[in-house]
Symmetry: C2
Subunit: 248 residues, 2 copies
């Protein structure tokens, strides 16, 4: 919304079945296909898989099924890290599903064969964020303990390979130290969406600013409350937050 | 070469007719067309106009003439600035041709109608860089005096809108202060090239690392000497540095 204020966003949050992190790959792929099928009826010009776990296991599958561009959150983060690392040693943290898939390592090696990738699953981070527990003493301790294996390595760039992790970025930054640059896949993905739409001459050039639409599979009241907390006024403009029937 | 080590680069430096900055738009467009015509015979998968002045005046012209993607250096820098600014006030410095064209302002406003753009031509910077005069007392004074009009404004992001300026970035950074983030269009363009090739399934995935080719319109000995200074060993691998006949 900030980087592409002219583009209409139709957001689907699979709140009833989140988190995806610990689920088997086959299940995540099935869920992702269902959501893409749901969204495609609105004839979007692009699909963004805004979840690292779903990107890791389902991006290529979805890309092969739809005719419009499909962007995940892994390649943008990998590309940003590849562009910024000086030491050539990049850390990646993510859910178990993301790390197990090896998707970041593959994306980084595809860009630069000489890059070193140190991957680490941090399964305790998502529950902390889901509880809104961003800066407590407990969070500090969990982050510190979890990241120990990375501290010993000479990484200069750390990819926050899960859309929840930027909420912990202050704590992660203080643990890793100021010489380690943190990459948020969300920011980088918004940037790449803009690049791709520009390349394809599909950027919206003018007209009224859009009214976004939000969908979720779980309780819409809870979803709207959290969305208002994060997005402020802007969510007031989005009249449609509803429960999606018959998905999954 | 650093961000896309698998991709073969055919580089054309119009050394005989540089700098483009003070030339009229019609002349820059004509030169750019000639070079694209020359390069297109090698059947590249993409053309990069790696010069801000040529991008400002000729990008749309070239995009309409060739069937492959054509990327300039202005939109990548604008997109990076749009993604990173917090205050929404972005500075742009460039040659007279680039600033006169209004191309950055247009690119930024197209992305975000609410963004404020403060543009400033710095015609004294290119000669300093061409002389290799990166860190002298004279350079410090010229940069300080030239950037005064920007210091008074509340910019938090400054686009180095000329491929020469990153060589002065230490001095520019010290004049602007640490709260102003500098954007190098070169880094950002390499990043977007990668994004676009990935979206189009045209990234080179494996095979031997490429041997790049360099062409220039002026004295190839001087060109090779400077290229070796900047690129080190890597230029040794590029056997072809020759004078292009009958261009222009």
């Amino acid at each position: 919304m900030r980087q592409l204020p002219r583009e209409k966003i139709m957001y689907f949050g699979d709140t009833a079945r989140a988190p995806y992190g610990p689920r088997p790959a086959e299940e995540v792929t099935r869920f992702t296909r269902q959501i893409v099928e749901y969204l495609i009826q609105f004839r979007p010009k692009m699909i963004v898989i805004a979840c690292n776990t779903a990107t890791a296991v389902a991006l290529e599958d979805i890309r092969s099924r739809v005719a419009i561009p499909v962007v995940g959150v892994i390649h943008p983060g990998a590309r940003a890290a590849n562009g910024r690392t000086q030491s050539g040693i990049v850390g990646v943290i993510g859910t178990e599903g993301t790390i197990r898939s090896g998707a970041y390592e593959q994306a980084l090696k595809q860009l630069s064969p000489s890059i070193d990738v140190i991957s680490l699953a941090c399964p305790k981070f998502v529950p902390l964020v889901e509880q809104g527990n961003f800066r407590s003493r407990e969070t500090q301790e969990v982050v510190e303990t979890s990241l120990q294996p990375l501290k010993a390595r000479n990484i200069d760039t750390l990819i926050l390979g899960c859309t929840h992790y930027p909420y912990l970025s202050d704590t992660i930054a203080s643990v890793m130290g100021r010489d380690v640059m943190l990459i948020s896949s969300a920011d980088e993905t918004a940037r790449e969406i803009s690049t791709i739409l520009h390349d394809r001459n599909r950027l919206t050039r003018d007209g009224e600013l859009p009214i976004h639409q939000f969908f979720c599979s779980g309780d819409p009241r809870m979803f709207r409350m959290i969305a208002q907390q994060w997005l402020g006024e802007q969510i007031e403009l989005t009249p449609v937050v509803w429960q999606v029937p018959k998905i999954g």
